[in-house]
Point group: C2
Amino acid sequence: MNINRKIVLKKSPEGIPNEGDFELIEEKIEAPGENEFLSKTIHLSLDPYIRGVITGRHIYSEKVNIGDTIVGRTVSEVIESNHPDYQKGELVLSSNGWQEYGISDGEGVRKLNGHQGKLSTALGIMGMPGLTAYAGLLTYGEPKEGDILVVSAASGPVGCMVGQIAQIHGVEVIGIAGSDEKCNTVRDVFGFKDCINYKTEDIDQRIKELCPNGIDIYFDNVGGDTLDIMTRNLAYEARIVLCGFMTQYNLSTPPPGPNLGPIVGARAIIRGVVVYDHYDKQDEFISKAGKWIQDGKVKFIEDEVIGIENTPAQFCKLMRGENFGKTIVTMQ
Amino acid sequence: MNINRKIVLKKSPEGIPNEGDFELIEEKIEAPGENEFLSKTIHLSLDPYIRGVITGRHIYSEKVNIGDTIVGRTVSEVIESNHPDYQKGELVLSSNGWQEYGISDGEGVRKLNGHQGKLSTALGIMGMPGLTAYAGLLTYGEPKEGDILVVSAASGPVGCMVGQIAQIHGVEVIGIAGSDEKCNTVRDVFGFKDCINYKTEDIDQRIKELCPNGIDIYFDNVGGDTLDIMTRNLAYEARIVLCGFMTQYNLSTPPPGPNLGPIVGARAIIRGVVVYDHYDKQDEFISKAGKWIQDGKVKFIEDEVIGIENTPAQFCKLMRGENFGKTIVTMQ
């Protein structure tokens, strides 16, 4: 077992990525240097933001160049350590990327010693997507009992968490998702009042039926037409939380956005949430989310495949919107 | 003198209005009823929002139909009164609209007995445009010493007041306007650091030169491409105050707006200002603005014509962006 299998960028994707943009290579596992540790990846998180990193448009990460290992958050186990703070056998949240083994100096690493429940949730509902939902909703959405919230990409890890946390705060929640199967899950598993299939239904008409007095909070994971429709269906003093732009990650030029006239009429506020600003809320979030999961108030679903070699196909599926739940690759 | 001359809507304008959309008619001056007064118009304010009222898209006013007198705020003198609160000879801020005489029951009327300085400023710098600038800038713009503010339609009554109030608060101000003559006035009369002629200069390039660290406050009176460019040149935690959409008042369908991705990156806030929400600040504003004018800290310019018959041409000029300063019609 001295071989590390990893996925590198073969060519820069145009539009929606395909498997040919990536390449599986094998190399000898390197030894950790001074103040470094080697960890074996257990779970790898696939997230839409990675598309932006590959293109160099994600302002918080360095661009992935041809031949580079693709980046990504991982749950891994320390197997060899020259770092005083990390011991062999410890479980950590790390950034090994798309590979079976990774070396780290501890920067950005979090120990998972106290983690409750399924380990992979540290990458999803209990991890970055969960904190994004929690911080974005509570900091900028300002949910109040009786509000109506709409969230797009509602079956994804951020969307489902936004809707479930909102319900815990007495908010009525409508989801938007891309298939009847997703919509059924959003209603039946996550307890949303309703869910609109944007591929087969008229979103504007359905929103007017479901929210005749307008939307108090729109939590946006997609941008595009859906965002435009929501701006025209706002309640007075509505809050729009911009979180993701799934409709444009695969485009080379950012498309126009919604006309902002209705924002003035509704006295609405538009803000964006960037999870990196909210790590101070992480402990509070993990403690609450752990309890919510335990109490059955928060459910989650995962779209898991096994084996590093299946990562490119799984990522391309995510970028086509065909994933169903938090997208995870579990190593063999 | 028992004839009232007034301008009515002849046909609904398509695109930028032209004089043929309006008609001057004469009629006998009516007598005020019980609890009403008759006033003679002195100054009439022409404002871009009137275009929306004519089309029925201004959500705060009833649509102007064919044959109706066009609406507008006026300074007028009470000449006959059956209203206990208004005496003959009093000067009032009223809504006579585009006519030489108007009857009012006092609703929405404000007495101008204590007005200081030029009377027409009650319609401009000391009136609704001034309050819009004051409330929008201070409530949503949150100006701080050392901030950089950009304001579009900078030579107009809202724009010039935003820039001047911002300077009083220690903010560096850049204007955008539609001619070299306007830009010179914005710099020389209103004291802005600089002004960009959007018709002849590359706004994006000039903003990058003038604000290399980005814009802290963008006060938007125009929408369209200018708004889009500003969203891509924001400083961290910037504030965008939406006030007017001059680029789209003459369009039948609202065009798309800016891509909102950069709002997230900059942690910016987008809000709109509607002056009707801020009448509680009117007394405070008038008191401060009066002093600023007296102290020479706030200047104003007016684009004035004489005679009700010149109102349509003056309004069309405003809607073509060819006005220069606060647009006023003074009656003969």
